[in-house]
Symmetry: C3
Subunit: 149 residues, 3 copies
């Protein structure tokens, strides 16, 4: 649905199953959630996660040059916040995830989660039922964004 005002798109869903998932030690959080969505046919969803990572790669999107810069976190950290959604990209379930990581002094690094090697991770994922929620190339940001026509 195209909407006026300050929204580019709005899609309406009904709640379906709620999954509580523990990820495998040494797995990549991003790949794990993507695989979970693909194996269960979850085409739309929303999730949070908490836990700890052994290492991670974060992304910062350079809004002028339109490219991701990578920030490496090479040491063990708490997964202090992790929020993500699942939608379709090129017809396949795709996970978009942001995270805040904290070191042993509580200091943080945050951004778009490119990879997170799991020490322990607990995910709450809500499967959503409704229209197709698809990412399409957006000229302005040069990112793949929701386009709910």
């Amino acid at each position: 649905m195209k909407v006026g005002h300050d929204l580019m798109s709005l899609s309406e869903f009904n709640a379906n199953k709620e999954l509580m998932v523990r990820l495998k030690h040494d797995a990549d959080l991003v790949r794990s959630i993507t695989e979970l969505a693909r194996s269960r046919g979850i085409e739309a969803g929303s999730f949070t996660a908490i836990g700890a990572l052994k290492s991670a790669r974060l992304g910062y999107y350079d809004q002028k040059n339109h490219e991701y810069r990578e920030i490496r976190v090479d040491s063990a950290c708490e997964l202090a916040s992790c929020t993500g959604n699942i939608s379709l990209k090129d017809g396949e379930p795709f996970a978009h995830i942001h995270a805040v990581l904290a070191d042993e002094a509580g200091n943080t690094k945050a951004g778009h989660l490119l990879e997170g090697i799991v020490f322990a991770a607990e995910v709450h994922l809500r499967q959503l039922e409704g229209p197709k929620l698809e990412r399409k190339y957006d000229e302005v940001t040069r990112l793949s964004l929701w386009d709910a026509e």
Copy 2:
């Protein structure tokens, strides 16, 4: 419902629709969500958002002097975490939002979100159905807080 122990108030709701919303480039995230709630008559809700902002203004509440101090973030940043709720204030839907922002090195600024100019933003909002959830002036904090009588 007034409750004992460590709760000031507790209101019970049923889940209603789940909205997946993309906000408009250059819109203010706070105003966009407030408008969304008002235009759809959402009187209670909870949401998360991820994306990137062009700039933002954060608030820190000075608990002794009872006033907000403003923290300006004048550069492009990732919206690493964004959590908010919708309830009624003076009879109108009102959005209370906190956020964690990250710069190109992954370093963060966080607090109460006063304004966030959208580069790209994906919101998952859950509409809730139930009793009126209203903010009223609280003498102790001098903030408008939920008062579920």
Copy 3:
């Protein structure tokens, strides 16, 4: 359910009530949510919270020495992000909570929330209905993790 790939366990729930709760001034957020779960018999759930704390104690899990290190935050701070879940530990509802705190300059400290003295706190908790979700001792991490057999 034991699952292959990158998951250790997955449990499927249905959404039940959604609670919007205001915590008491000066209460401990961790104890308040634990008491809420116990008093209402919530054995599985997921929540977010925003607000402000008077002080807090955060934990960082030392993945090599298998012990928590404590980070004290002795000043007033915004509860910029707070994500948690409820499951059973030794047969009782147990709250696992991570948080991101922000000071007056917007600078952050984050980690596992051990204690948070409430200035004002608004919690959105989703009660889940389904199988028992129990924490059991995990040899690899030496933490109590979900074991959904």
